[in-house]
């Protein structure tokens, strides 16, 4: 029980933190201090949190342009992330990557990419190396239902299954690629079946329960660590509350019903997990997080922009 509630606290902190960071981004965005496209995870945080809580720092994650939640859930440095969004020299990519290109190698965040599907094979290669090195670490790749369309998805799953590499594929199926519904891009709603055809277990998680995500991910990951499992495909059904890119909502566009989102807002994991904890504890967590966030934004504000001399730096590694 004791341990259970410790875990719940950890989950709440992570969920709350990500949500609040992105809400702050929404608040700041109109000031044009963030001159970079932002793809928010608001509503989808539970996927990154559920999976990443089952990971160790030495495990590696790979993600997409919609990468704030993943970066934070995996332990990426918040100050560096905000500074990056602000285009500052102190950012995790020294201002060169912006919101879509986050990495923090020290915490196993091995890069997010703005080209859909491109990190999938990268994660498989990473996992291949882990296996070669007899490491008990795993690689996890997060991508959307859009990435499933790409040839890279196919080539990656095929190779991962063939070589039995320790990689967890996490498809965050929010049913849309920008404004295109999953079923205008796929004949049927059967992504798990597709994954199984490559020869790997596949699990679909509906309902948005962060603990469910955690349990399933942890089980598979632990088996991978022990060398008892190769690649696994996880389809997590979720919902993007905001517009595809930017801080606003997009119901006026008419491509989806407000109702679709409303259901998910009702099942929001942030208040749900909060409800499982003492009010007292929540207050402490929230307080700490708020302070961390304001410090991070202040850090970003106060940091300097990179200077001209930085332009050519880091093109090649010495």
């Amino acid at each position: 029980m004791e341990k259970e509630s410790r875990l719940i606290e950890i989950f709440y902190r992570s969920l709350y933190r990500i949500r609040r960071v992105e809400e702050e981004i929404v608040a700041v965005y109109p000031t044009d201090k963030i001159k970079s496209p932002v793809h928010l995870s608001i509503g989808q945080e539970f996927v990154s949190v559920g999976v990443c809580e089952a990971l160790r720092p030495s495990d590696a994650v790979f993600g997409t342009y919609r990468g704030h939640a993943l970066y934070l859930a995996k332990g990426g440095d918040l100050r560096k992330m905000i500074a990056e969004l602000y285009g500052k020299q102190t950012g995790c990519a020294k201002g060169k990557g912006g919101s879509m290109h986050l990495a923090d190698a020290a915490h196993g965040v091995m890069g997010t990419s703005a080209i859909v599907g491109t990190t999938i094979p990268v994660s498989v290669g990473y996992a291949y190396a882990l296996k070669l090195k007899r490491a008990d670490s795993v690689a996890v790749c997060f991508f959307g239902d859009g990435a499933v369309d790409e040839g890279n998805f196919h080539e990656s799953l095929n190779f991962a299954a063939l070589k039995n590499t320790p990689v967890l594929f996490v498809c965050e199926n929010n049913f849309y690629a920008i404004h295109s519904h999953h079923l205008t891009r796929h004949h049927s709603d059967n992504l798990c079946e597709r994954a199984r055809a490559y020869g790997m277990p596949a699990v679909r998680i509906e309902g948005g329960d962060v603990f469910k995500v955690y349990d399933v991910a942890r089980d598979h990951i632990e088996r991978m660590r022990r060398g008892e499992s190769g690649p696994v495909f996880l389809e997590v059904i979720t919902c993007r509350w905001k517009e595809h890119v930017g801080p606003g909502e997009d119901f006026h566009l008419g491509y989806r019903e407000e109702q679709e989102v409303a259901c998910w807002i009702k099942g929001d994991q942030v208040p749900r997990v909060r409800g499982m904890l003492d009010e007292q504890i929540c207050r402490i967590i929230e307080n700490e997080v708020e302070q961390e966030i304001s410090k991070a934004f202040r850090f970003a504000e106060e940091s300097r922009f990179p200077e001209a001399a930085e332009l050519y730096k880091d093109l090649y590694k010495e």
Binding site: K35, S36, P37, G87, K88, G91, A93, G95, K96, G97, G98, S99, M100, H101, S113, A114, I115, V116, G117, G146, A147, D149, E150, G151, A177, I178, H179, S180, T184, R185, H186, L253, G254, Y255, F305, P306, E307, A308, E310, L311, Y312, L315
Partner: protein
């Protein structure tokens, strides 16, 4: 009064009129039928032509390019749209191994008329993977035609020409051109490929700007005018075939040539133009320079991005420096940043 449209309206009009005129034209790509309608350029086309002729696709750049080739072989005239030129890197196999060689490698028995629209992103932190402008990669490859129109007039005329052309045509649009305004006739017309356009006449120096860099060159020309320098601004319009004659004649006349690539410079359009002039022995008396993207991935932060791209100010300074070496000058006050409107006659 002259009829004025924006670049994006001109593009939309070209598509709509040509689709109405030719039932074999089909239009597809991610988002062509969505509420944003590729920044308005495909607005209303789904409603008018139906979802068989105007359709969204899965994210599958190489596959859909292959599909476009197949449609073309079957007698359609497909227009495949990419909202970023960077995505063409996923389709190089079908574009270069297949489309570019389709007619030649089957000895003329097959041909694939298709249009690949792609947009160059810029600024607001588009960053390394959303701002590439990789037309030099295609210029190297025989079998493709490549156009990058700058004016609304050419946007429309080149699109109609691209659709009617019996070969694969890469049609390159720059996001920042979308709001440029200019004269556009209301009827269907074509702009033939391979003819550069002189956007501004001048005798002192020749500025060649590719795609949006033509606009920067025009702005630079205004700065230079203030100090009495008359710059001729040339928009190549089509990169393959390339109208080297117009550029060469101008450069011979002015004796000074700056080519501003809208891409990296190594093996770029500027390199090619200079190489041709050099082979013709014309550079004995002409001073030349290239400008273009910094040789690095595009950084996201605005402070570095400003150093990454050429702009009117840098072009003007460079031109001045070429004409008056050693003398320092930079455009006074605010840079000309207002929208340039394009006037005919074309």
């Amino acid at each position: 009064m002259e009829r004025t449209l924006s670049y994006s309206e001109a593009l939309r009009e070209a598509l709509e009129q040509e689709m109405a005129a030719d039932p074999t034209v089909v239009l597809f790509g991610l988002g062509v039928d969505d509420p944003k309608a590729i920044l308005g350029t495909t607005k209303g086309l789904l409603e008018r032509f139906g979802q068989e002729r105007v359709f969204d696709t899965p994210l599958a750049e190489d596959g859909m390019t292959g599909a476009a080739i197949g449609m073309a072989l079957a007698g359609l005239r497909p227009v495949h749209v990419h909202i970023r030129m960077d995505f063409l890197l996923l389709a190089m196999n079908q574009i270069i191994n297949m489309a570019a060689k389709m007619h030649y490698m089957f000895g003329g028995d097959l041909y694939a008329p298709l249009v690949i629209r792609s947009m160059i992103g810029k600024s607001w932190g588009q960053g390394p993977q959303h701002s590439q402008s990789i037309y030099p990669l295609f210029m190297n490859v025989p079998g493709l035609k490549i156009v990058a129109p700058t004016t609304p007039y050419d946007a429309k005329g080149c699109m109609v020409q691209a659709i009617r052309d019996n070969n694969p045509v890469l049609y390159i649009e720059h996001r920042h051109l979308y709001y440029q305004k200019g004269y556009v006739p209301d009827h269907l017309y074509t702009v033939p490929f391979g003819k550069a356009r002189v956007l501004n006449p001048g005798d002192d120096i020749t500025l060649v700007g590719v795609s949006q860099m033509a606009v920067e060159c025009l702005r630079a020309a205004r700065h230079l005018e203030e100090i009495g320098i008359k710059a001729e601004v040339i928009d190549p319009v089509s990169l393959y075939p390339l109208d080297i004659e117009t550029i060469s004649a101008s450069a011979v006349r002015t004796g000074h040539l700056i080519i501003v690539d809208n891409s990296w410079m190594t093996c770029g359009a500027g390199s090619e133009i200079l190489a041709v002039l050099a082979e013709r022995g014309l550079l004995k008396k002409i001073d030349v320079r290239r400008m273009g993207f910094a040789h690095t991935a595009c950084p996201t932060t605005p402070t570095l991005e400003a150093h990454f791209y050429p702009d009117a100010g840098k072009i003007a300074v460079s031109a001045h420096d070429m004409l008056s070496p050693g003398k320092r000058w930079s455009p006074a006050g605010e840079l000309h940043r207002e929208e340039v409107e394009f006037k005919g006659p074309f």
